[in-house]
Each structure stands twice: as C-alpha cells, then as structure tokens.
C-alpha cells in the first residue's frame, strides 16, 4: 500500500487535523468524541443538520460542513459508522434551539448508531428527527436485504436541506423535504479497481485487468456482478438505464416519532421517472477516476436522458462521495421540482462545495 499516510490508525485523525488547519474560518474539529462543525455554530433559531458515517468517502461529509449545508459531520473510522456519543455531542454543540435533523445513510451500522444517538438526544432534551437515505438501485429487494444503501443522493440531500435550513424551514418541514429528496434520488456505481483500506493495507477485492464490478456501494464491498470492462458509453448506459428503468421501489423505513417518543415504521415508495421530468445529474468519481473521464460519462448520460425525454437542468460532476482511492464512478439522478431547484441554486460555502458566495 502506497498512500500519503503516517500510521493507518492516525489516518482519520490527521486528515481532520489538516482540514482544521486549512479552513479555520469555515470549520472547527472537536476530538474525543470526534466531529467537525461550522465555525460559527450554533446558528440561533436555525434547524441544525448533522450527518456522518464512516470515513473514506471524503469530501463527504466533513467537506460539506458550512453555511448552506451541514452544521456538523461525524466521521467514523474508515468505512465504519461513527458512534452515538459523537452524534450526541455534535448535536449539543450545534443545536440552535430549533432542533436537529440527522441525515443517515441506510447501513445497519449507521442506523443503529444514529438510533441510539436519537434516543440519547431526546433524554437530553434536544429535538431530533432522522431521515434515512436509501437510493442505490443496485440493491434490488428490501425484503431479503438490509434494503438499498445510501449513496450519491446523500450529497444532494445535504445541499438541498442545508439551503432549506438556512432559509428557515422548521424541523418537520425539513425532515419532509429530506425524505422527498431521498425518494426522488437514484444511484448506481461501477468500480474499475478496489480501494485499499489503510488499516488492512491490501485491496479489499481483486479485479482482473479487464474486469469491473457493477452495482458497488461506497465501502469497497464487491458489487452485485462482475463483468468484463466495456466502453465508457456502454458502462454509462448500464448505469443510466438501471435507474431510468427502475421499477417502483417500496420499503418500510423506521422513523422517529417525536410525539410518541418511539420508532415507527413508515411505508415509502419511489415516484417513477417520467418523460418531461427535470433532473439533477450527478456524475461522481469514486476517488481515483479523473474528471476528464467523468465528462466522457456525462456526455453519454446527457445523450441518453435527452433520448428518454428527461431534462437535465442541473448537474454536479466530480469526486464528492468516494471510496478512498477506488477507480470508478457512480451516477445519481435526482428528480427535481421547483422548490428543490431553488434550494440547489442557493448559496453554499463549505470546503468542498461552494457557490453563490
């Protein structure tokens, strides 16, 4: 393994120290428990948004802390969800009195840790709602699995909800918006190489010189299928069609009922993509794929969407939700409404996503 790290055990900590050193105007880092928070937190009267998850997906989430996006991010060890005390302490630090929205990716570890954090926050008198992101269409059924994974839509939900919080949405309205973004988002990814987890030191899986994994998540786990590599156009088509032709996905999700103070099951179904829909197209590098290749993917994606009568009205292209040094790419298609468009365009000032200010 060749990486710019010192000891594998110090990877997360030292990377955060670098982040803090580089951007003291934007973020601060608290250690033990570890979380990154807006330098100007708490913002009085604003709902605070907290996300988190395993490290190794940078810039998500730590790079998205700042005005118009996250109030705090809780990084776990590499690919390991953070612990409830991190989330609880972060909530205490950034709570501006209007409550906290946890944006959680649908992994058993993340869910269980955030559930515990939600319960703990409540006993500490902090209002918390929690929304799960599960947008990865590679996972087909929800009955026999943990359900879809949370991937690219997470970034978009954080941006859109971050803008809404900044504009004064209250906690319930924000949670509803976040759920809506999730239901309208779909993702699918391909790996050309495995990533290498620093503590392990060798690639998580081995891919032959002409093989690719399709339907991967973001944790270096193998995908659903191993195929021989194809052209950029063919790979793009596989990804795009798996989303565009995705049949309605229904699942039961647990959400926190503030009034009853307990977890309740809610039935959720994705709206289908239809001709004339406006989309945000997000072409994402898994970390090791350069932007020049992402544009080749985008080129074909735009062509396919046009053919299908889908209108790409916004896009995001770059490495935003990664798997360490993995070569590969994922596409996220988010069906937009006018409210989401306005919120997407709103100013954002974080270390890794910035415009309008």
């Amino acid at each position: 393994m060749k990486k710019f790290i010192n000891k594998p055990d110090d990877f997360v900590r030292e990377s955060l120290e670098g982040l803090a050193a580089a951007h003291p105007d934007l973020v601060k880092v608290h250690y033990d428990p570890t979380f990154v928070y807006r330098a100007d937190a708490p913002v009085n009267g604003k709902v605070a948004i907290i996300s988190g998850g395993g490290s190794g997906h940078e810039p998500m989430h730590t790079g998205f802390v700042g005005m118009g996006m996250l109030d705090a991010a809780c990084p776990g060890e590499v690919f390991t969800s953070p612990t409830p005390d991190q989330m609880l302490e972060a909530a205490k630090k950034v709570d501006g009195g209007a409550g906290i929205l946890y944006i959680v990716k649908n992994y058993s570890g993340d869910i269980m840790n955030f559930e515990m954090a939600t319960e703990l926050a409540r006993t500490d008198g902090i209002r918390v709602l929690s929304i799960l992101i599960d947008d990865d269409v590679a996972v087909k059924d929800s009955l026999y699995t943990q359900g879809r994974r949370g991937v690219g839509t997470t970034v978009l939900a954080e941006k859109i909800c971050g803008a809404a919080a900044q504009q004064g949405y209250d906690l319930q309205r924000l949670a509803d918006l976040c759920r809506r973004v999730n239901l309208n988002g779909r993702s699918m990814g391909i790996a050309l190489t495995s990533c290498t987890v620093p503590a392990k030191g060798t690639p998580t899986f081995e891919l032959g010189h002409d093989e690719m994994e399709i339907g991967i998540g973001i944790h270096g786990e193998p995908g659903r299928q191993r195929l021989s590599v194809k052209s950029a156009d063919e790979m793009t088509e596989m990804l795009a069609l798996s989303m565009i032709e995705d049949s309605p996905y229904s699942r039961t999700m647990r959400e926190w009922d503030e009034n009853q103070g307990e977890w309740v099951d809610v039935e959720l179904i994705d709206p289908l993509l239809e001709q004339g829909d406006k989309l945000l197209a997000f072409v994402n590098s898994m970390g090791g794929t350069p932007i020049s290749e992402l544009y080749i993917v985008y080129r074909k994606l735009a062509e396919i969407c046009e053919k299908k009568g889908l209108q790409i009205v916004r896009n995001l292209i770059g490495p935003y939700i990664t798997s360490l040094d993995m070569q590969g790419c994922s596409i996220t298609l988010l069906k937009l409404d006018d409210e989401m468009i306005q919120l997407w365009d709103a100013p954002v000032k974080t270390t890794s996503l910035r415009w309008g200010v």
């Binding site: 395993g54 690919f79 612990t83 570890g109 269980m112 026999y144 392990k200 786990e221 193998p222």
Partner: protein, 212 residues
C-alpha cells in the same frame, strides 16, 4: 457458578482472542463486507481492557455496563451497537451481583442475545452473529435443564456456537452489509458470527482453566 474474577478473566481472554484473530476477522469481512470487523472489535476491546481496572472492584453488572458503554463509544459500525447492546442488556440482569449462579449466567446470555435481536432485527439464518448466539443460548439452557453443570453446559453451548458459525457459510446474508451481495455472500463464513463464537469460547476457556 461464575465469580467476578472469572468475568474479568473472560473479558480479558476475549480481548486477547480478538487481538489474535484481528486479521482473520477482517479477512472474513473483506470477502462479504468492508474489511473492518477485526479492527472494529480490536479497537473496542483494547479500550475495554484499559477501562477494566477502573471498575474491577465494582459489581458484575457495573463491569458489564462499562464494557457496553466502552464498546458503544469506540467500535462503531454494526458490531458496536450490537455488542454494546448485548453487554448492556446482560448487565441489567446481573446488576449489583458479585457472583452469578448457573441460572444467572443463562439469564445473562439470554438477555444479551435479546439485546442483539432487538437492536439488529435479524432472524436466525440471516447470516449474522445471531446464528451463533441463538443456538448457543439454547444449548446452554438445554444442558442446564438436563442437570449439567456450568462447564458442561458451556461446552455444549460452544459446540453449538461453532456449528452455528460454520453453518453461516452456505447461507445468503439478509442483514448487514453482506446482504448487498445477495447470492454472492454464499460460501463465506460470517465475521460477526465468528467473533461471537470467540466470545463464547473465551468464557469456556476461563471455566476450563478454573475447574479443570
């Protein structure tokens, strides 16, 4: 009967087992997960070992609660809340006690299993640690009810645990990360089941060395 010293020895033995099998557990997780289970458990139990001296003179319930809190705040991932809840629920049924009757031990193990079931919502056959814990607790109870002593009961529990662990190999995972692999999870032993087996085997080791 299980004394507080044996409980402490158990935790130390388990921590040592985890350290020794760290890479093995991680390799198992690499095959069907995200290559961190060994690291996660080892990080947690290293912290536990540091904490133990501070509570060694407390009761067993307090000790197990400290283990739980330490795991919850240092392991993360799926195994953190699961093992954390296991020890938390186990601690509640032995609160205040300095030693445990054979039945206490059974109640403790059962409470731990129930904690895992509650937190993780997995069922038997989902290819998780439940596939080790559940048959082991049943075997333990069965053995006790047939009049065996704790050592014998634990031997049978560990035999059932080992079988349960090995039986995860042909299963399709339905919970945790491995579930994303679908059919491709077949042929690999579940890492969490493996660490749970080590946990039970560590308890047996302590019993054998005390009584043997």
């Amino acid at each position: 009967m299980l004394t507080k010293e044996q409980i402490l020895q158990w935790l130390q033995t388990f921590a040592a087992q985890i350290e020794q099998n760290k890479d093995y557990l991680t390799e198992l997780d690499a095959a069907i997960g995200d290559a961190d289970h060994g690291m996660n458990m080892d990080r947690g139990f290293k912290k536990v070992i540091l904490q133990l001296p501070t509570v060694a003179d407390k009761d067993i319930g307090s000790i197990l609660k400290t283990v739980s809190m330490t795991l919850i705040s240092s392991v993360g991932g799926a195994s953190g809340p699961l093992y954390g809840t296991l020890f938390l629920q186990a601690s509640t049924v032995v609160a205040g006690q300095q030693e445990l009757s054979d039945n206490d031990v059974h109640q403790m193990l059962k409470a731990g299993l129930n904690g895992v079931l509650q937190r993780g919502k997995a069922q038997l056959g989902d290819k998780t640690m439940v596939d080790v814990l559940s048959p082991a607790v049943s075997a333990f109870q069965q053995a006790l009810s047939e009049g065996n002593n704790i050592l014998e009961a634990m031997q049978q529990a560990v035999t059932a645990a080992e079988q349960g662990m090995k039986d995860t190999t042909p299963l399709v995972a339905k919970k945790g990360r491995a579930s994303y692999l679908g059919e491709r999870s077949i042929g690999h032993q579940d890492p969490g089941a493996t660490s749970s087996y080590l946990m039970l085997k560590s308890l047996l080791t302590v019993l054998e060395s005390s009584l043997g």
